[in-house]
């Protein structure tokens, strides 16, 4: 009697847990749908036939077989989609390499050394975060021209690296702060010094921070468009977002929405791939940054 009673209540409890669980995942799926749908719809729509793009928009997916018409029409803008993709890749990869190198050194310096005006200099770097780069674009253009770096992907890269520094130096300093000083002392006793100590001993320990810095640098450089629009003046130097402004503006008053969808896909897919590959590092690093 008692045993069947407890059995019954246990059954009821598991049933309730089961129902709560189902409700939870139903909500989860609905939420995911909202966040995924715009991507999925655009990707699907980008594979419609050129003629379909001019037909009624419903349904948004290809009904007449898969076609790459939209991507081909995207290629007719600017200097060709391949050229602009290479430009974007160059700027993004160079930004990643330089940002990691510079912020690794600076983060180590700020974490481990004492020098005059240390806090002032650190705040100065962080303060970049408060200043909208949009407001200093004109002087930046003039300074880059003085350095012979106007209309150059390298000049744009240096600006991007500078824009990445407040976040990156902050991240790297926190990453080094989290490394116990004893490890460094032990390595020093073993004879590792300076750059060797930094690269061989400490770098593996701050790798999550480096991954975060790298992924943010890549995504921001890949996605940025206003500075590129103003600092790059010749057509063949344009990065993808700048090219897309021409596509968005359309020709003779008509916007080729197929090309817009294809461009969104081209700009989105590398971001998603980089993020999904490095997600573990990314989230861990982001959380470490937020906790500090």
């Amino acid at each position: 009697m008692t045993s069947s009673n407890t059995n019954l209540s246990k059954q009821r409890r598991t049933r309730r847990a089961f129902r709560a669980n189902n409700a939870y995942h139903a909500a989860g799926i609905a939420i995911c749908l909202f966040f995924l749908a715009p991507f999925v719809i655009t990707f699907l729509a980008s594979f419609r036939h050129g003629t379909e793009a001019r037909l009624p928009p419903m349904p948004p997916w290809p009904t007449n077989g898969i076609s790459i018409d939209s991507y081909l029409s995207l290629d007719t803008f600017g200097a060709g989609i391949w050229q602009h993709t290479v430009n974007s890749l160059f700027v993004s990869v160079a930004t990643v390499v330089l940002t990691v190198a510079v912020s690794l050194l600076a983060g180590y310096g700020f974490s481990r050394y004492r020098f005059p005006l240390k806090n002032v200099l650190f705040v100065l770097i962080i303060a970049t975060l408060m200043i909208p780069f949009q407001s200093i674009l004109t002087p930046l253009f003039i300074i880059l021209a003085k350095l012979g770096l106007n209309n150059s992907l390298l000049g744009l890269t240096l600006v991007y690296v500078t824009l990445q520094l407040p976040f990156s130096v902050f991240m790297m300093r926190n990453a080094f702060d989290a490394v116990p000083k004893e490890i460094e002392e032990a390595a020093r006793i073993d004879g590792a010094r300076d750059l060797k100590l930094l690269v061989r001993v400490l770098l593996p320990l701050v790798l999550p921070g480096v991954a975060t810095v790298a992924i943010f640098a890549f995504l921001n450089a890949w996605n940025e468009f206003l500075a590129a629009l103003i600092l790059l003046s010749s057509n063949e130097k344009y990065t993808l977002p700048v090219l897309m402004m021409a596509v968005r503006a359309g020709r003779l008053g008509a916007v080729n929405w197929g090309a817009v969808q294809a461009g969104v896909a081209v700009m989105t897919i590398p971001c998603l791939i980089v993020f999904l590959l490095l997600q573990r590092y990314y989230m861990r690093g982001l959380m470490a940054g937020a906790v500090k």
Partner: protein, 305 residues
């Protein structure tokens, strides 16, 4: 100082001096970039703001006339008002979505990792890309939202979402929430997870309800995280530009011109570089003031904990 004392100190002092130089060498590349591409342009902006500075032709010093003009510029004032309005609404909207999401994905259970990842996906896409994507979704003829509403029979005619202020503003808010909520969610999640499980457990045993635990335990312990998320959201929103430029071109009736958009127009469309610089300085002052207030609040919070 005695001879023996200085002898005993000197190797230590030498090491310290060497370490000072080494520290400065490590931060030198970062400092060089910040000085060249940040400090100098900011000072240059200040200098330009005191000049009448057209794109072509000579510049001449006009003192604070650009600033006087700014205070009488009704369009700048309305840009300020619009930006403040947008910042408040979008920050509330982001938190209203991100906080429940953070609680939703807090506990480790099946598929939670997938939910977190999917919610976060739009964050890694550029704001310009997202604006481009949504301008297509919201297009009246070839888009998705309007035609879908029509196909479902909810509306007789596909609405031109971006043509009216209210619907365009709502579309942009939804786009930004879609794009940013995952980021705010992750930040809030770190705060949630930093709360020791024993504390929540103890409160539960003491009979505190779910809302009571949230109000008196979770919120106070998350102050620092919330402040951080607020700083990012508010400063980001004040600098909003891409979405208005790409999605509505500042319309309808130029009612969606944010401060940065107005500065962009003055500097790069009308080429009043001097006046644009003065407006930039005003924007910097606003942002620095807000950041200082927020950092001060953050410190007060830290001292309390």
């Amino acid at each position: 100082m005695t001879g023996t004392g200085s002898k005993a100190l000197s190797p230590q002092r030498k090491r310290r001096r060497r370490s000072v130089w080494r520290g400065l060498v490590y931060i030198a590349p970062a400092m060089a970039l910040v000085l060249l591409f940040f400090v100098m342009p900011v000072i240059f902006t200040g200098w330009m703001s005191l000049h009448n500075w057209p794109l072509m032709g000579g510049t001449h010093f006009i003192g604070f006339k650009n600033y006087v003009r700014m205070f009488h510029d009704a369009r700048f004032m309305s840009a300020l008002k619009f930006t403040a309005y947008y910042t408040v609404i979008v920050t509330i909207a982001i938190f209203a979505v991100a906080f429940p999401l953070a609680i939703f994905v807090e506990k480790q259970r099946r598929f939670v990792g997938a939910y977190r990842t999917i919610i976060f996906l739009p964050v890694v896409v550029g704001l310009a890309t997202a604006s481009l994507l949504w301008v297509w979704l919201a297009n009246v003829d070839s888009g998705f939202i309007g035609p879908a509403l029509k196909a479902l029979g909810l509306l007789d005619k596909s609405p031109n979402l971006l043509a009216r202020f209210d619907s365009a503003f709502l579309t942009i808010i939804i786009m930004v929430v879609w794009k940013i909520a995952g980021f705010t969610m992750i930040i809030l999640l770190t705060g949630l997870q930093a709360i020791p499980a024993e504390l929540t457990e103890a409160a539960r045993i003491d009979g505190a309800g779910r809302w009571q635990r949230f109000r008196h335990l979770t919120l106070p312990l998350m102050r620092k995280t919330i402040a951080l998320a607020l700083i990012i959201s508010v400063t980001g929103s004040i600098l909003a530009f891409d979405q208005f430029y790409i999605m509505t071109s500042g319309g309808p009736q130029n009612r969606m011109i944010s401060v940065v958009y107005y500065i962009f127009n003055q500097s790069f469309v009308s080429f009043n570089l001097g006046y644009g610089a003065a407006l930039s300085i005003a924007l910097l002052a606003i942002l620095v003031a807000i950041s200082i207030i927020q950092l001060w609040l953050l410190r007060v919070v830290e001292e309390r904990l």
